[in-house]
């Protein structure tokens, strides 16, 4: 098939768009359309589609625009909540991972150096008083690290890590 548009196609198109076809169209152009295949096709197809459009538009069953409006609002709000919730979830997962890693490290350390506080636990019913220092390994005190300093430091580190991850995700 060769692409051979007629030079008068635009003229015919304009007449069709204005609704001048066929009554208000010059007789000479009507003669041309009946002889030219491209223009004949254009008229035939345009008339069929315009008729179909008018009929289809008349039979359209339209819903309420208000419902669509609220559906869109709801979708936008859900998307916004999801956007905000994603970095928060990431920060929570990160904090959980840090906590688990610290717990695992602590348990491993205790297992390697002997679980001293288990003995204290056994003595607890007889002791009658709570000795917090018994919960910490003896090596910790010998290196000068107090648990009262170490615990807040680790907690701050975990919190800051979470905040950093949150800010980075939000920036993205």
């Amino acid at each position: 098939m060769t692409l051979s548009p007629c030079t008068r196609e635009n003229e015919v198109k304009e007449i069709l768009q204005r609704g001048h076809w066929p009554q208000a169209c010059p007789a000479e152009l009507r003669t041309h359309v009946s002889a030219c295949r491209a223009c004949g096709d254009l008229v035939l197809v345009s008339e069929a589609f315009c008729k179909a459009r008018a009929q289809a538009a008349g039979s359209a069953r339209l819903g309420s625009p208000g419902v669509l409006w609220w559906r869109a609002q709801l979708r936008r709000r859900n998307a916004a909540v999801e956007r905000i919730g994603k970095p928060l979830l990431g920060a929570q997962i990160f904090a959980l991972c840090v906590t688990l890693a610290l717990t695992a490290g602590f348990v491993a350390f205790e297992a390697r150096n002997g679980i001293a506080w288990l003995g204290w636990l056994q003595e607890l019913p007889q002791a009658g008083s709570l000795h917090l220092e018994a919960l910490w390994p003896s090596t910790m005190f010998s290196t000068g690290l107090s648990p009262m300093v170490l615990i807040p430091a680790i907690a701050t580190l975990a919190l800051l890590g979470g905040v950093v991850v949150y800010l980075a995700a939000e920036k993205q």
Partner: protein
């Protein structure tokens, strides 16, 4: 008493409008209702005739409008209604394309009854009998191109914007599609003549 406290609601609403405009928020409820009234019939006609399924057209039309509203820039006051309509047709075209790409899972039970027995006068039935079968013999993309060009009156450049095709391709594809459907329409008319 400060004067701002006398008319707090007016100020709040103005501030809200200003904020929404600055944030690039879309049109308000009333503006959307007007735009919907003016454009929904032609979008529905496009979807119904190119898909051949009025129920699907209804679903896709609703989804088109929801997506249109969720998009960040469709404001007729800023871009003009013609551009908004074109954007809407673009969404509808993409949704139709996605639908055609999906594997077909619907059964005959899912098709509504009125799809088979729609009311219509004789002229309507006549037009449907001629153009409907001819359209269904065309490829989906050709149906879209033909509808946009001959029912909506879009230029090649506008069709290219709606469909995402190159303008030169639209011209060629449209020429071929028009020739083919014209042949089918002539055959149908000749076949119906006694």
């Amino acid at each position: 008493m400060p004067w701002e406290s006398v008319i707090p609601n007016v100020l709040a609403r103005d501030a809200q409008l200003e904020a929404s405009r600055a944030a690039g928020a879309p049109m308000d409820n009333d503006a959307f209702a007007g735009f919907y009234e003016r454009s929904a019939r032609s979008v529905w006609a496009y979807l119904a005739r190119t898909s051949g399924d009025p129920a699907l057209a209804e679903d896709l039309m609703q989804e088109s409008y929801v997506r249109f509203l969720c998009a960040s820039h469709p404001d007729p006051l800023v871009e003009g209604e013609v551009a908004c309509r074109r954007y809407l047709f673009r969404i509808a075209t993409n949704l139709l394309r996605d639908h055609w790409r999906r594997p077909r899972t619907s059964s005959i039970e899912e098709v509504p009854e009125d799809f088979f027995a729609r009311p219509g006068n004789s002229a309507q039935s006549d037009s449907q009998m001629t153009l409907g079968p001819a359209l269904m013999q065309m490829r989906p993309r050709d149906r879209q191109l033909l509808w946009l060009a001959h029912a909506e009156g879009y230029s090649h450049r506008e069709i290219a914007q709606v469909t995402g095709l190159a303008s030169a391709s639209v011209r060629l594809l449209l020429f071929r599609a028009r020739r083919k459907i014209a042949g089918l329409l002539r055959d149908a008319e000749n076949g119906r003549q006694p």
